[in-house]
Symmetry: C2
Subunit: 397 residues, 2 copies
């Protein structure tokens, strides 16, 4: 892994897009990425982090796929925020995804803003950030880019692909696009397609960004201003959908923020208001507004069955990959019914599939939290899959 | 009722605030409204509509309370949109709220923008619109204003108070504040207090409005510009919460808008996007942005139990009012559990209460839709209540 020190405040997101604090794979113009939008993208840069050691047979690799607002900094200090990685509960020495045993890879998705080619990256044709000149990205495009990275690392077959939410969509797409390259797969809190309600919430977020006069049709970098107000509103709206009604009630209820009576004003009287405002204002410091547009659009376009004549089971025909599907009872953004649809499609094809619905009131974001049942499910499934795959035990000191 | 013709396009919302196409009660400065914020508001204007005829005993009056984005135009052509009234399914000759039998009153709420004093009204102290100089409004303040109107009409006791959502909050507040003036009450799809999630969605809407540079801290009228982009985003986000996931799936699913393949752009590819954008853009033509801030805040502040030491049952102690509580199975904004809390509190006080949970997939907005079970529930309850109250049958031609 790359050692990263917290950077000083004011380090700009768009500098990370071109000069990331990560390992970087730069593919030459002779190796373009063929995108679903019909465009050959080149040159392509993929920023990634790794943890643990790849064994000599190159059989112990686990690819982690990140969610909408995640990035490749799974288990190290984040270069922009200085905070721990987003999945340190799950990934590390002795953790469910045990870096003493597995070689863990996570790359910033195509369209991202932490070093993989995306709208904040410099367009070599113009010398300016792509902005809306970046071709539209799909989940399948993200997976194509990841496959190029896996090729580069000399890995023929991944032991496992794992991810939650948009990361789970990539897991499903990996299994459908490259079934022979994935021994086992763990899609968490995800869906085989985005629902109408999902699209609706994403559209509100995009409209909030685009309504910000500092967005300037995506060409904000040149103006020296950023559409932070619009992006903060988008983040606030999305954040509500990541939590359950119960979790909000338990955590905040109607509690007031540092006061004993309402102010009869538009100040953040309630703790939930203060919390949301904080979520909005911190998000804009680490995330590019155009990337938010592109990645939400990629999720909206995701409909795995559509690529197979509308029958999801055909996406997984004769698949040998072992699956462990995980959903959460209180996740109303990617409800258990969506996970069940995946399970049914896999069963129809006779695939090996475990399904665990975890009882929690923590909502969609449960996959990011300290949830013992998620950890035991993951480690147990990986352990049995490792045996089936013939992986050796981890050497403990 | 006041006859209203559709007005030509471009008729400004703020003109309706000062010169409404409605009946108007103007209370002199000697009759201020004592507000929860501790301010005596005067002069007070209340714009209202009536339907049907008040009987000589003044015993057949039904007060309709409107929701957040509703107004007094229950059952007549709307002066700004030219469209039918918002509750013509429910209110009219031979309808469940039968204007052949009952005298129906609906006033624009305090803080509204259709003629009752609110932030778009001219502040007599400055000659300019109040904007944020309007004192914060509560649900109880709205009900106080309505009580002044009922006084003015010479009605001692309302036969019924009925309303959905924020209208339902007013119904509950009427019963708590003036139990002896309400013979029966029908709170629909409402709650005794706003939940953390409800507050969160409202806060997103407010932040969207306030993020619009044309909002100018509420003083936009003088600039000749309106914060329409921010208000449209607020409306879009809120509108998702008014519909159920199932209803969105049934109505829109992933259907594309006037195209056969995605455009790989940020155009409204999906019908749900096009629908939401339309909801946003039409809303801003009839609604004042500051009113949106004030009324969402009034809902956030609503917590009926808090006024009674935290025990909701005490709000309805020894109450004689007959209640019919209605909720909808797919309403996730004001779920059935919230209605049950009202029922339990009423039962604890020995009140007369019917409770109907209507099985529908139409979500929160079901109370505005053509829903036969809602109509039979309402007409049946009104019929039995009318007999108990000694009201005569309607004279039919």
């Amino acid at each position: 892994m790359t050692e990263i020190k917290p950077l000083k405040a004011g380090h700009a997101t768009w500098r990370e897009a071109d000069a990331p604090h990560s390992l970087v794979l730069r593919l030459p113009a002779t190796q373009p990425l063929m995108m679903d939008a019909g465009i050959a993208l080149s040159p392509l840069t993929i920023a990634y982090q790794t943890y643990g050691t790849l064994n000599s047979e190159k059989t112990n690799a686990i690819l982690v796929c990140h969610a909408l607002t995640g990035d490749q900094h799974v288990a190290n200090i984040h270069p922009l925020t200085g905070k721990p990685g987003w999945w340190e509960t799950m990934v590390g020495p002795g953790k469910p995804v045990d870096t003493d045993r597995y070689f863990v890879i996570c790359s910033n998705v195509l369209g991202g803003c932490l070093g993989t080619t995306g709208p904040a990256s410099t367009n070599p044709a113009t010398g300016k950030p792509y902005g809306l000149d970046m071709p539209m990205v799909t989940i399948r495009d993200m997976v194509r880019a990841q496959a190029l990275l896996i090729d580069h690392l000399g890995i023929e077959k991944l032991f496992c692909v794992i991810g939650g939410s948009m990361g789970g969509m990539q897991v499903l797409q990996w299994a459908a696009s490259y079934p022979e390259r994935v021994f086992c797969a763990i899609p968490i809190a995800t869906a085989p397609r985005h629902s109408s309600q999902n699209i609706a919430f994403n559209e509100v977020g995009r409209q909030a960004v685009m309504a910000d006069p500092d967005w300037i049709h995506g060409q904000y970098f040149e103006s020296g201003r950023l559409p932070t107000k619009g992006l903060a509103v988008a983040r606030m709206a999305a954040h509500i959908t990541y939590l359950s009604d119960e979790a909000l009630h338990r955590k905040f209820g109607r509690k007031l923020q540092n006061k004993t009576a309402p102010t009869f004003s538009f100040d953040a009287d309630f703790q939930i208001e203060s919390y949301l405002r904080h979520q909005g204002s911190t998000f804009v410091e680490r995330f590019d507004a155009n990337t938010y547009l592109y990645l939400t659009r990629a999720m909206d376009y995701f409909d795995l069955a559509e690529d197979y004549g509308g029958t999801l089971a055909l996406a997984f025909k004769d698949i040998k990959t072992r699956f462990c599907i995980v959903s959460f009872t209180s996740d109303w953004l990617f409800p258990t019914a969506a996970s069940r649809a995946i399970v049914h499609a896999l069963n129809a094809g006779g695939a090996s599939v475990s399904f665990v619905e975890i009882d929690t009131d923590k909502g969609h974001d449960a996959f990011l939290l300290d949830l013992p049942e998620l950890f035991t499910t993951t480690s147990g499934f990986l352990e049995s899959s490792a045996r089936a795959f013939g992986l050796k035990e981890a050497k403990r000191a």
